[in-house]
């Protein structure tokens, strides 16, 4: 396995510097960590949002790299797509077309009607393998775990072909363990957001989590182990801000400046930013067949998003639970522009929030938006209404 150090900039730095480095990395559309990995001889599996079983690629020695667009103009990609599409589909292709980054394999998922087209579009533009991972869309079938285990086995064979080596159950268990540690650390970060949100600005918490999609998880674990105790020691004091849940960041990501704008008047105590990184809620069991365990965790011990239909997880009910669990007073219900699942879910969310008498703020965003003044004023008005209600 390639052991390149991809993100050493934070090491030995004070917490403000660590968080600054994370923000810089998350906003860098040249993906320097991926370049470093490749320069050291490593191969990269790029996968699109929302959830991907990274453990399988990790076990084969590849760098799993979550492709989730970038705040850039899709100059070349625009000519490959129609007009009425979300930005992330275009910019994700752009960063590879324009050479900002390179991958050795690309996997997309049938999360939405646009994303499932990506295997076809990418396959026509690149020589490396581009395919769809068919995560089960009937999560309620008793046969879904067995099917998914078979699908993971198929994926593993494809990955082994790219990696040039076989993956053993022991390799997989080691990777499951690394990812279990990572999930536990991210849960701790979210504990801080929920219990003492004044200790870390919303955009910093986001950046600290989101870099995990750009570096090997071992490195992310080291980073979180170093940063979390420092954040917990922060002398910051609680301010008079509204506790809110942010919903709508499951695929296309809002710019850091947008999260910062929200943070000026609100504490983001829970959210669905990059929800794929936190899809599995508990440790994946390390005994038995690792692929079966991973499949079981995806189906049985997981969170929710607008792109998974599971009768056990009605999304508006899940949102209300998220709000209650995090003791939020209100919700910001957003959708990326042209994101069909997000826009459709907004209707269900807002109606459920109306019924529950929970205040909410509805908005749309785009990853490459640059103006936040209007949003900031609207949000402040919303918050003032709540404070003086």
């Amino acid at each position: 396995m390639t052991q390149a150090r991809t993100f050493p900039e934070w090491e030995g730095k004070p917490i403000d510097e660590i968080l600054y480095r994370c923000r810089e990395l998350v906003e860098d559309p040249s993906f320097p960590t991926v370049s470093r990995w490749r320069e050291a001889g490593g191969k990269v599996l790029g996968h699109f949002q929302v959830y991907f079983p990274e453990e399988i690629a990790h076990a084969a020695g590849l760098l799993p790299f979550k492709l989730r667009g970038a705040p850039i103009e899709p100059t070349q990609a625009d000519s490959r797509f129609g007009s009425y599409l979300c930005s992330i589909v275009k910019t994700t292709l752009e960063v590879v077309l324009n050479g900002s980054t390179r991958v050795d394999m690309f996997v997309t998922h049938p999360i939405c009607d646009a994303a499932r087209n990506m295997a076809g579009v990418w396959g026509r533009n690149f020589e490396f393998p581009c395919e769809i991972l068919y995560l089960p869309q009937n999560a309620n079938s008793t046969h879904a775990p067995e099917y998914l285990r078979g699908e993971y086995e198929r994926l593993q064979r494809r990955i082994e072909g790219v990696a040039g080596r076989a993956v053993t159950p022991a390799d997989l268990r080691r990777s499951l363990d690394v990812y279990n540690q990572n999930r536990a650390l991210i849960r701790k970060l979210y504990d801080i957001k929920r219990e003492a949100p004044w200790q870390i600005p919303a955009e910093d918490a986001y950046a600290l989590m989101a870099v995990g999609a750009l570096i090997p998880r071992e490195e992310h674990n080291e980073l979180l182990r170093a940063a979390l105790p420092l954040i917990a020691q922060s002398p910051a004091r609680a301010q008079d801000r509204i506790r809110i849940v942010f919903e709508g960041g499951f695929c296309e990501q809002p710019p850091l400046d947008l999260i910062r704008t929200i943070g000026h008047s609100c504490y983001v105590v829970d959210d669905d930013f990059m929800i794929g990184l936190r899809w599995i809620l508990e440790d994946v069991l390390l005994d038995g067949d690792p692929l079966a365990r991973l499949a079981q965790a995806y189906l049985e011990r997981s969170t929710y998003s607008p792109v998974q239909h599971d009768l056990r997880k009605p999304k508006e009910k899940m949102l209300l639970e998220r709000i209650e669990r995090s003791r939020a007073r209100a919700a910001i219900v957003t959708a990326a522009k042209m994101c069909e699942p997000g826009l459709e879910e907004q209707v269900a969310y807002t109606h459920a929030l109306d019924r529950a008498n929970i205040p909410y703020f509805v908005s749309e965003f785009e990853e490459n938006m640059t103006s936040y003044d209007h949003l900031g004023i609207q949000l402040e008005t919303f918050v003032e209404n709540l404070m003086f209600d």
Binding site: G82, Y134, R154
Partner: protein
């Protein structure tokens, strides 16, 4: 009247007339079901499971067809506005919004009235199907069932029966069908009868075989039918009557009609000058005019990807085994729905084959705002087609429902210019040959 003229009168145009009649009768039945308070099975064109649902006597409701009818009858904007007032974005599927408004109007549509859903069954061939089903879950608290049919993983990566990956998918589809049946029994109060299923599958087999034959017959020059206008009527029957004896009979007679026209050299146009392929979804808000913009200049649509995917892959002609109907249905769904998805996502090679087999002169790409499933990759597909061969193509965008994004004058300008290019190309070719 000569014998030949009498035969012409009896056969030519029968498919359109009978299709319209069957369609009206189907809708009258739905209206009666609604008035009697019966619940319908809400299904979609890609993987309707009509064969199975008929076994339980459910009235079949196709919301996609209902919605497009509002556009063809020029009232879609009223429905879209109502759904948008309810909170749905202008940027989501127009079919969904027209259906939301239809539900808010207690099922009232220009053609009659549809029953409320007793259940909804949908595949994942279009992700919006699943989100749509969630809307009915919330509106009516009804059972919904996702039949997950995994598609091809990459272009040309077709796992075949016997292959481990195909078998993994097939077992999954078969298991889901078995899980669905007890729900259907409970909701309908009808016991599952495997012989009835076998009978409906046999009708669907017959329809599949004949649909493929009809499509093949349009290779004739001149083409016996227009794949855009006539083809949409045939599609309506293929979906609404899937698995019924009436549907099977209709398609057997349609083969007869198209074979007759082919033998007699009777084309849908008297002067067929250009043979065209259509990729995408029709422009229903100006459906007749849209077709005329091509036919007035001698262009006939000889085939389309729409006739493939919107028939749920019936174009494959797949024959489900009848000795084990449940296994046969699972395999048939997997092969057919997968083909439907391939013709939307991985269409380059099939289009090149179609261009050759139908001796086409050009390809019309019509991506639409409302449908990302079909439209997302069309610009890139066109690039690939142009790279693969010297194939004239036109790329025009509008919508299947929303007249706000349909500019008739702009479409006509582009289409006229395309035909001028075709004419010039033909002149050059004649000069080069002489």
């Amino acid at each position: 009247m000569s014998a030949e003229t009498r035969a012409d009168a009896a056969v030519v145009g029968r498919g359109n007339k009978e299709g319209a009649r069957l369609f009206r009768e189907w809708f009258d039945e739905l209206t009666r079901a609604a008035e009697a308070g019966r619940g319908g099975a809400y299904v979609f064109v890609m993987g309707s499971l009509g064969e199975l649902l008929r076994t339980f006597d459910f009235p079949l409701v196709f919301p996609e067809i209902n919605s497009l009818q509002t556009a063809v009858r020029r009232v879609a904007h009223e429905y879209l506005n109502e759904a948008e007032d309810f909170g749905y974005s202008p940027d989501i599927c127009g079919y969904v919004k027209a259906d939301v408004a239809t539900q808010m109007r207690s099922g009232a549509l220009p053609m009659g009235r549809i029953p409320k859903p007793a259940l909804a069954v949908f595949t994942n061939a279009c992700n919006t199907y699943i989100k749509w089903g969630e809307i009915w879950e919330r509106m009516y608290d009804i059972p919904t069932f996702t039949l997950d049919v995994p598609g091809s993983r990459a272009a040309g990566a077709h796992a075949a029966p016997g292959d481990a990956d195909f078998e993994n998918d097939r077992r999954y589809v078969a298991a889901q069908i078995r899980e669905l049946i007890p729900h259907l029994e409970r909701i309908s109060g009808v016991r599952f009868d495997i012989d009835r299923l076998r009978e409906h599958i046999a009708h669907a087999n017959s329809m599949n075989r004949d649909w493929k034959r009809v499509l093949d017959l349009n290779r004739s020059r001149p083409a016996p039918f227009n794949a855009l206008s006539d083809g949409t009527i045939f599609l309506g029957v293929a979906n609404a009557q899937r698995g019924s004896a009436a549907g099977a009979k209709y398609f057997a007679e349609l083969v007869e009609e198209m074979a007759y026209k082919s033998d007699q050299g009777i084309g849908t146009l008297t002067d067929e000058r250009y043979r065209l392929l259509f990729v995408g979804v029709p422009c229903y808000p100006i459906f007749r005019r849209f077709t005329e913009m091509f036919t007035e200049l001698g262009g006939t649509f000889v085939n389309s990807t729409y006739l493939w995917f919107a028939s749920g892959g019936s174009n494959t002609g797949f024959q489900c085994r009848l000795d084990d109907p449940l296994e046969g249905l699972a395999e048939g769904l997997l092969v057919s729905v997968r083909d439907a998805m391939d013709s939307m996502f991985f269409q380059t090679q099939p289009l090149l084959d179609m261009y050759r087999d139908y001796a086409a002169d050009g390809v019309i790409y019509h991506p639409i705002k409302s449908c990302r499933t079909v439209s997302t990759g069309l610009a890139d597909s066109r690039r690939a087609l142009m790279k693969a061969g010297d194939i004239p193509s036109l790329f025009i965008e509008s919508d299947m429902m929303d007249r706000r994004v349909v500019s008739e004058a702009q479409l006509k300008n582009r289409i006229d210019a395309f035909f001028e290019g075709l004419a010039t190309r033909r002149s050059h070719s004649i000069i080069a040959e002489s």
